[in-house]
């Protein structure tokens, strides 16, 4: 090896190799700089994701300091990768890779925003999402993703007004996109119904009804322009659901007929059949159910028999049970509810009310033990539902009805514990306000005035602006006044006027406020 000839040959070989590497780096891959940048962004994203996963393996619920630290690797993606500018002279490949890089950086920012939300820093998260929106420019996919994320965050932080405004603007900005298969659906189509649900969760039926009308108008507007059959069918199916909720059976029947024709013309839409048949049955119930329930019941029964694996089977049985109850056919209704709770106990929209109604009927038909077991299980099985809210208090009501006052009081105490457990389970849930309201009702029933005022104070702190808090303030003022705490009562009424200026009760509240002795200091507003 020490011979000079070998050294020369080695040097020559190395020079050849170097030339080969340089040549291939320059000519081997035209858009190598862009591809390398995308690869780098992907690697940084992967590393950030891995860091978060590892942290969560050690601690399933990391504290806010850890969460904020975990944001850093995600933010590094944006810091270390500069999104390339696409110009008119850029090739198609370059434009695609540049868009990929932008999406990667945007996605990393959204992940950082998600962690900020979890760390209870919505201000940082919302700021980040707005930055992503600015970055996305004309990339609709990125904008949509960012907007959906922002809506979720605003909802979580009870900025409902902003959330609804953003949802409305999304409906204007993003026309629905046809999906490739009938199992998928553009998330934009779910927004109008999400708005309805949001108002219902807030117990604001007036706004919910307005949102329902808005949803119908939106779907009808979409249907005025031609679309591919799958998208048209999906929009029409949603319109029918809205019309069913509105009780507009004439429009519903017309749209069901249109949907049926559409389904018949396109084999791709075969799986719409259960929904069409269910909608027909439900419309039939709305039209003739009061006088002749048997026809609608037969239609519901056939939906359940013909499509037992479809979620519409469970809905059909639930509606059949409701119809039977309307006509005081308790045994028949109970048998329908039993079928729902046995075979469709995982249907989120049907199972909780079915369990609750079944418990009510079991009790009415003499089997209190079964009814109590069902009612006790509802908050555990379906924690964020109206059934979970009503079940604990239904137990107390039953004891009170049969004259077991001590048992009734004990059940009310247990209900308060259940609501507290549900609040602790998820402190940011939209249902928390309802649980606090139910707690207040229980405390008033127990004449636990201190507890009731404590709950009102908590609602002032956490739920101000929501419709139920309006009622809570009035109850709080009454209790405080009855127990010689006029200053406190005055405070509640002033909060009412400051936060619910459009309430029809404003006049009465002002009169009551005038009757209270004047106070030297004004309480702070809770908004």
């Amino acid at each position: 090896m020490s011979r000079p000839g070998v050294k020369v040959r080695a040097a020559r070989s190395f020079a050849w190799l170097l030339a080969l590497v340089t040549a291939s780096s320059l000519s081997g891959c035209g858009n190598a700089p862009m591809l390398a940048l995308r690869y780098k962004a992907e690697r940084l994203m992967w590393q950030a994701d891995r860091k978060e996963t590892s942290a969560r393996v050690l601690d399933e619920r990391p504290d806010s300091t850890t969460l904020m630290a975990l944001r850093e690797p995600y933010l590094d993606v944006g810091r270390k990768v500069e999104i390339p500018k696409v110009t008119a002279s850029s090739s198609k490949d370059d434009s695609t890779v540049a868009r990929d890089i932008m999406r990667l950086v945007g996605n990393a920012e959204l992940q950082a925003a998600r962690l900020a939300v979890t760390a209870n820093r919505p201000d940082i998260a919302i700021e980040t999402m707005k930055r992503v929106q600015a970055m996305a420019e004309g990339d609709t996919l990125m904008l949509r993703r960012s907007d959906f994320f922002l809506v979720g965050t605003l909802r979580q932080y009870k900025r409902y007004g902003e959330a609804v405004a953003l949802m409305r603007s999304m409906l204007e900005r993003y026309p629905p996109i046809a999906s490739e298969t009938s199992e998928e659906e553009d998330a934009i189509l779910a927004i109008p119904e999400a708005m309805v649900r949001l108002y219902r969760d807030l117990n604001d039926s007036t706004s919910a009804n307005a949102a329902l009308n808005e949803a119908a108008a939106y779907y009808r507007r979409i249907l005025t322009t031609p679309h591919v059959p799958l998208l048209e069918a999906q929009v029409r199916a949603r319109l029918i659901r809205v019309e069913l909720e509105q009780g507009d059976w004439a429009s519903g029947l017309r749209d069901v007929e249109a949907l049926r024709k559409l389904g018949a013309a396109s084999p791709q839409l075969k799986n719409l059949e259960p929904e069409i048949r269910y909608s027909e049955a439900k419309l039939h119930m709305m039209h003739t159910g009061k006088e002749k329930p048997d026809e609608a019941l037969a239609l519901f029964e056939r939906v359940a028999q013909d499509f037992p694996r479809s979620p519409f089977a469970g809905r059909a049985l639930m509606d059949a049970g409701t119809l039977c109850e309307m006509h005081s056919r308790k045994e028949q209704a109970l048998s329908y509810y039993r079928r729902v709770t046995t075979s469709y106990d995982r249907l989120p929209d049907v199972a909780p009310p079915a369990f609750y109604r079944r418990a009510m009927l079991e009790e009415q038909l003499g089997d209190w033990e079964s009814a109590k077991n069902l009612l006790d299980g509802i908050p555990v099985r379906f924690p964020e539902t109206m059934a979970a809210l009503e079940a604990p208090i239904a137990i107390a009501n039953r004891y009170a009805r049969v004259g077991q006052q001590d048992a009734a009081r004990e059940a009310v105490r247990k209900a308060i514990d259940t609501y507290q457990g549900l609040i602790d389970r998820d402190t940011t849930s939209a249902f928390c306000v309802l649980y606090r309201w139910a707690t207040l009702r229980c405390q008033m029933r127990l004449e636990d005035n201190k507890g009731a005022l404590r709950t009102v104070d908590e609602m002032v702190r956490k739920d101000m602006g929501q419709a139920i808090t309006e009622q809570a303030l009035l109850h709080g003022a009454r209790i405080a006044h009855q127990h010689d705490q006029d200053l406190r009562a005055r405070g509640y009424l002033q909060l009412f006027l400051a936060n619910y200026p459009k309430s029809p009760l404003v006049g009465d509240v002002k009169k009551n406020l005038a009757k209270l002795p004047p106070a030297n200091s004004k309480p702070k507003t809770g908004a």
Partner: protein
């Protein structure tokens, strides 16, 4: 038989004991190129890495490997192609050079001016033998995949069948490569011809087959676990562990197989010389 075993064993032990860097150096060059490839593979996030290794992977498998961490799933395949090309093409000159340096103490003409002429005669048959061997290996894999793999998969549970398929495939490949091992050794003989080297090389491979296959298997044994992990557990490493671990594994495998190649040729060259002496 007993004596032959003693001779073969002595040749193998001597090859391992008398390891010489200057004899190994030509194969070290191949390893160097493999390392360069792996270093560039670790830097695909740079223009140089993407323009070289990225371009090679794109050529072999399209756009899919240009993403992280998918890149590391495709890397072993690209590395094995590179290994095949290097040992076949560059090896056509470098392997006879390494063998010449191993045989130099036994054949003084292989030092100095005679070496160049011998190498000139040795590289064409070595290259052809390498290409033929690559084709035979491809043919063996194809036949094995068509005929035996479905049978094994149908009769054994998943893990056992995967391990058995891998084992048989490896054994078949090594058995084939042992046949051509003596072509560069014979091609370095004074007065060798192109066809003569190929014919005599294969004949020598057949004659000393059982000892040669033993050398191949024993010297390659340390590299086997790495190869097995690379071929059977790559997605686990790339997705669950650090994807860069793949590069470390390929590097370790390449190093061990490079040393195994040297030791196999060193032992085979000695065995060939010993059997020639015995015949004479």
């Amino acid at each position: 038989m007993h004596r032959n075993f003693r001779v073969a064993r002595a040749c193998g032990v001597e090859a391992a004991r008398d390891f010489q860097w200057h004899e190994y150096a030509p194969l070290g060059w191949i390893l160097g190129v493999q390392f360069l490839f792996l270093i560039l593979a670790l830097n695909v996030g740079t223009i140089l890495g993407m323009g070289t290794v990225g371009a090679i992977l794109r050529l072999l498998s399209g756009d899919a490997p240009l993403h992280y961490p998918t890149f590391f799933l495709y890397l072993p395949n690209a590395a094995s192609w590179l290994e095949l090309c290097l040992y076949t093409v560059a090896g056509a000159i470098l392997i006879p050079l390494a063998i010449a340096r191993i045989q130099a103490p036994m054949d003084p003409e292989l030092e100095g001016s005679g070496l160049k002429a011998r190498l000139k005669r040795a590289w064409p048959p070595t290259l052809v033998a390498g290409i033929v061997m690559a084709l035979l290996l491809w043919g063996w894999q194809w036949i094995f995949n068509q005929a035996l793999v479905p049978l094994i998969r149908a009769s054994l549970p998943q893990i056992q069948s995967a391990a058995l398929i891998w084992g048989i495939s490896m054994l078949g490949s090594y058995s084939l490569s042992a046949l051509f091992l003596y072509v560069p050794v014979v091609a370095l003989h004074p007065g060798s011809t192109f066809m003569g080297s190929l014919r005599e090389g294969v004949q020598e491979g057949l004659r000393l087959y059982k000892w040669t296959i033993l050398y191949v298997l024993i010297f390659a044994l340390p590299a086997m676990p790495f190869l097995m992990v690379m071929q059977l557990g790559m997605s686990f490493i790339a997705e669950r562990m650090r994807p860069e671990m793949v590069v470390v594994l390929i590097g370790l495998y390449a190093t061990l197989i490079s040393l195994a190649t040297y030791l196999t040729y060193a032992a085979a060259a000695r065995l060939h010389w010993a059997s020639q002496m015995e015949d004479a």
